[in-house]
């Protein structure tokens, strides 16, 4: 009897662990351990001939790849920051409109925001390459209207990469901002108006502070993937605006240099975490954990 009772107690005590085990083990084995292995690999020295690696604790690999790739890291940070700011500015009005005036057609408009997701990311980027090319519709029309000179081009420029990133991640920005705006109690806005605050004040002191969790989630879902992205840069940009993703991809898949690739990847991971904390502070998110 007592054995049965204790077995039942044990059984009940084990429930949360049993429920959590599959996902947690999966994440430890295939997310956490690879991250540690990556750090370890960066500290190894590999023979270029036999490909055999030995642990040498050479932290010099980090300074080596940093000196070689700092430019590409700063380019990536700049492009991701521009794309995120553009997306937040572009999304806010439409998210506001759908949340407050969408009415019965709310779901329809949300679906329209999500439409790009139904087409492969790679295909979307290829189509922008065509649209922005010198023989594409946009530039042909602009040239005919004498808006741009005959040698004006968009592809290969930083602007093209930023435009591609901004397009591809726009739904990731708009959705969390919409969710946050929809939760706002409309009476708060009416109350602010009744108390004679101007439209700007209502936005600055009521709407934006309440939308902060959404803006932070938008930042997380736009800035981080854009920072590591290399498709937009490879398809729309050129050699002059190499992003860090391309450098990592080359280390692993073109130069077979996993040591440098791992070191650079570890640096990118560290910068992402710092960027998230700084972004959280800038947006005014007090407790980062609350927003996940």
């Amino acid at each position: 009897m007592s054995r049965l009772a204790s077995a039942r107690r044990w059984g009940r005590g084990a429930t949360p662990y049993a429920l959590g085990a599959p996902a947690v083990i999966w994440l430890i084995a295939l997310f956490l351990i690879p991250l540690v292995v990556m750090l370890v690999k960066a500290l190894e020295t590999c023979s270029p001939i036999t490909q055999a690696c030995t642990m040498t604790w050479h932290w010099s690999e980090f300074s080596y790849v940093w000196h070689g790739s700092a430019q590409s890291i700063f380019t990536s940070l700049r492009f991701a920051a521009y794309a995120t700011v553009i997306d937040v500015v572009l999304s806010f009005p439409i998210a506001y409109w759908i949340a407050f005036y969408g009415g019965r057609r709310k779901n329809f408009f949300l679906l329209m925001l999500l439409v790009p997701f139904f087409v492969s990311f790679v295909i979307r980027t290829i189509i922008w390459q065509f649209l922005l090319s010198s023989s594409g519709i946009i530039l042909t029309v602009a040239r005919d209207l004498h808006l741009v000179g005959p040698n004006y081009h968009v592809l290969q420029t930083s602007g093209a990469v930023i435009a591609g990133l901004a397009y591809n991640y726009l739904p990731f920005t708009a959705l969390p901002i919409f969710v946050a705006l929809e939760r706002i109690d409309k009476n708060l806005i009416d109350a602010a108006r009744d108390l004679y605050s101007s439209k700007v004040e209502v936005f600055r002191r009521v709407i934006f502070p309440l939308a902060r969790p959404g803006v932070f989630a938008a930042f997380l879902l736009t800035f981080i993937p854009a920072f590591g992205d290399y498709v937009n840069q490879q398809v729309l940009g050129g050699i002059s605006n190499t992003m860090v993703g391309t450098v990592i991809q080359n280390y692993f898949l073109a130069y077979s240099d996993p040591t440098s690739g791992s070191a650079l990847s570890a640096i990118v991971m560290g910068i992402s975490l710092i960027a998230i904390v700084l972004g959280g502070i800038a947006i005014g998110a007090r407790n980062l954990g609350d927003y996940v």
Partner: protein, 266 residues
């Protein structure tokens, strides 16, 4: 609220036009004829044809990569949904005292969402290479669950947060066993959250490029195959597949919107 704004609807429709534009281009150019010998996508209009729809499976690598992507997305989203829903239940139902390490699990999920895909892809490639594991369907499957499971946890958890625990207690009081309670009470109530998580995992897997680029080896999912083709020329069938996937996604979304409207408001 004050009067309806006039600028916002115009702006919103323009933005929707901007979002839809590349998709319209893709659909239109899937009907574009090719006049040169090599059948590759060209962006000069050569006349309307349904040739690429009739010969949709003529590009062997493309067809097999599309099927691989679909199988992969089904398998990975199923595994991620089951594991993620279980973890979400554990995280919402048990306090830190009953579930030791809960805070650590939260940090793990957070770190996972915060990690850029390129870091996940390259670190997994390093692991697979150092363990001499051949890259193929199974490495892709393992990897796709890794980057989608946290999103399922977040989605299901949000749904569970508004759940009335007394319903489960009532079922238990009436003599229902835990598993029966889960099947008859808990699951039906959290199903919209589970379905949303599953759809998200499916979409993330189907469209993933960066991580798959690292761990795919010679077995290439659809986006990796298409990206490889950009260097040598894209067969028009790519747009046929793109249009088909788009149409199916749109139909699924419309059906789910209609179904959710039928349900009584909560």
């Amino acid at each position: 609220m004050s009067r309806k704004p006039r600028f916002l609807p115009v702006y919103s429709w323009l933005l929707i036009g901007y979002l839809v534009l590349p998709i319209v281009v893709m659909i239109v150019y899937s009907f574009n004829n090719v006049v040169t010998g090599i059948p590759n996508v060209s962006f000069t209009w050569n006349g309307f044809t349904t040739r690429w729809y009739q010969h949709w499976s003529d590009v062997p690598g493309l067809t097999s990569s599309a099927w691989l992507s679909i199988r992969l997305a089904l398998a990975a989203s199923a595994a991620a949904t089951v594991a993620g829903t279980m973890l979400a239940l554990a995280l919402v139902r048990y306090s830190g005292r009953r579930f030791r390490g809960k805070a650590a699990v939260d940090y793990l999920l957070y770190l996972n969402i915060a990690a850029p895909e390129i870091v996940m892809g390259s670190s997994l490639l390093g692991l697979f290479v150092s363990m001499r594991i051949d890259r193929g369907f199974w490495t892709l499957f393992l990897t796709h669950v890794v980057f989608s499971v946290a999103y399922v946890v977040v989605t299901v958890r949000a749904r569970l947060a508004g759940f009335d625990v007394r319903l489960e207690e009532a079922a238990a009081d009436l003599g229902s066993k835990p598993l029966t309670t889960f099947r008859l009470v808990t699951l039906p109530l959290i199903l919209p959250g589970v379905a949303a998580g599953a759809l998200m995992a499916f979409a993330l897997s189907l469209d993933d490029f960066v991580t798959s680029d690292f761990v795919s080896g010679s077995v290439q999912p659809f986006p990796v195959w298409v990206y490889g083709a950009t260097r040598i020329g894209i067969p028009p069938q790519v747009f046929v597949f793109g249009t088909a996937i788009f149409s199916l996604g749109l139909i699924a979304a419309v059906v789910s919107v209609v179904l959710s409207r039928r349900q009584p408001a909560r």
